[in-house]
């Protein structure tokens, strides 16, 4: 590698990391947190015995999974203004990603809830718990353990998907790389550098997943 490439790498490193710290990471965290709450709600609706309620959840999941994330993002940022709803880039991205995570994670949460044996519900009812309390004290804590690996997948995908936000003008990791690349003309180097930073973030997440699984596994036979 010659000196100028090395210099470019060094000088672009901080703007790209800044994009990660100020854009990618908070965007992913906020969207995942909101999306997870949404997912639990959608999963519970999907499991509801009331047909209309489970139907709404079904349709929601179907639309989210059946349309491209980029299209969802564009509908919210470029489409809604024609209806008079103008949302800034950042909140637009959070809304789109949360809705998306909500749809995908809902199926994970639903499967996890269903994986808890029926006897756990019965024991919870037996000691006098209501449905709601049984869910929060007995069922969801057990479902959480089961859902950590698939939810980690969702989260890691989300981190990478946030690069799409560059297309609605959010200043995040990839957009920073694009800017420097356009300026310097060295696309290969800068996009590889961006890829490397994404990879490092995902490595950190994967090791976090490992720790979380270990912690939640403390009550399971090995």
């Amino acid at each position: 590698m010659d000196q100028s490439a090395w210099n470019l790498l060094l000088s672009s490193f901080w703007p790209i990391v800044q994009g990660a710290l100020a854009g990618t990471i908070p965007l992913a965290l906020a969207s995942f947190a909101i999306g997870l709450v949404l997912a639990i709600a959608i999963a519970l609706m999907r499991l509801s015995r009331i047909r209309v309620v489970s139907g709404i959840a079904r349709v929601y999941i179907s639309i989210v999974r059946g349309t491209p994330l980029l299209v969802q993002l564009f509908v919210i940022f470029y489409g809604l203004p024609s209806l008079g709803v103008v949302i800034d880039p950042w909140p637009s991205a959070v809304v789109a990603f949360s809705i998306n995570v909500g749809g995908y994670a809902a199926e994970v949460v639903r499967a996890a809830i269903l994986s808890v044996p029926k006897g756990q519900w019965e024991a919870a009812y037996m000691i006098g718990m209501s449905h709601r309390r049984a869910l929060s004290r007995i069922i969801l804590p057990q479902a959480a353990r089961v859902s950590v690996p698939p939810l980690s997948n969702t989260f890691i995908s989300l981190v990478k998907d946030t690069s799409l936000a560059s297309l609605i003008l959010v200043t995040e990791l990839f957009r920073q790389a694009q800017k420097v690349a356009a300026f310097s003309g060295d696309f290969m180097l800068l996009y590889l550098e961006a890829a490397l930073v994404y990879w490092v973030i995902c490595l950190v997440l994967a090791s976090g997943q490992g720790l979380l699984e270990k912690r939640l596994d403390r009550y399971v036979a090995h």
Binding site: E122, A123, Y125, M126, G128, R133, P141, Y219, V220, A221
Partner: protein
């Protein structure tokens, strides 16, 4: 555990009221889809007595227990407890009534159904603290006392998976006792246990019987029934075919179906 050298386990509310009949079940019916599981069940359990339900699998005996704890909602009939709570299943009981019914009994499950994400102590105090809203210190002290009496005090911080089946079932029993129910329900409590662990659990149940707990037990342990039950009821096809004192029922069954069932249990091959 020997019943003689231990302090008795507090029989809760079961000795406070003077009414002789603790549980009265009349014409209980239950169907699953088009399958009629309970045709019409009538039962009476006197305070402080032990009723054992026997019968072939699919006879409806477990469904009877589950209806008594509100885990299944019967389609018809009446259940009354201690003369103070009476539920008519003909007129679809509300959530409140079912909760009141559940409140008076506690169940021990065949597969223990302990909460795997909670320690032994947490399993026992969960009901008293989060549902019954009793002070944590008091509930914990009582739970530890109960665990001590079943020989599991040193396991208080273990998770269920670290215990043997027999230990888990004793925790299941303690969890039920900690709720201070008027009625204890046992659904084949030893069926999932290795043979050498059955004795521990039956021994504990026998002690509870001696201390005056009112119990309804579904079991295939005839020897236990003979020793501990005040009355045995043989259920088949959703009705009580025959009932009586164990010595009588086991040695001189009146009905052909009872004879066949007992014969199969005594001579399985």
């Amino acid at each position: 555990m020997s019943p003689t050298d231990e302090k008795p386990i507090d029989a809760g509310r079961s000795q406070t009221d003077a009414a002789p009949e603790l549980l009265k079940v009349r014409a209980l019916q239950k169907s699953f889809g088009s399958t009629r599981v309970l045709e019409s069940i009538d039962l009476t359990v006197t305070r402080g007595e032990v009723l054992v339900l026997i019968g072939p699998s699919g006879s409806g005996k477990t469904t009877v227990l589950r209806c008594l704890n509100g885990l299944e909602v019967a389609d018809g009939g009446e259940v009354s407890v201690a003369g103070e709570l009476s539920i008519d299943f003909g007129t679809r009981p509300g959530k409140k009534e079912l909760a009141a019914l559940r409140d008076r009994s506690a169940m021990v499950f065949q597969h223990y159904n302990l909460f795997p994400h909670m320690t032994v102590l947490e399993n026992v105090v969960e009901g008293p603290i989060t549902v019954q809203r009793r002070p944590r210190a008091e509930a914990t002290a009582e739970a530890l006392d109960l665990l001590d009496r079943v020989g599991l005090a040193e396991k208080r911080d273990s998770y269920p998976f670290e215990l043997s089946g027999g230990q888990q079932q004793r925790v299941g029993i303690v969890r039920a006792l900690a709720l201070k129910p008027q009625l204890l329900l046992f659904d084949e409590p030893t069926s999932a246990l290795d043979p050498e662990l059955v004795g521990d659990v039956l021994g504990l149940m026998k002690q509870l019987a001696l201390e005056g707990w009112t119990m309804v037990i579904v079991t295939h342990e005839l020897q236990f029934a003979r020793e501990v039950a005040n009355e045995v009821a043989f259920i088949d096809g959703g009705v009580i075919v025959e009932r009586g004192a164990p010595a009588h029922l086991f040695s001189a069954p009146q009905h052909e179906r009872t004879k066949q069932f007992l014969h199969r249990l005594l001579f399985p091959f």
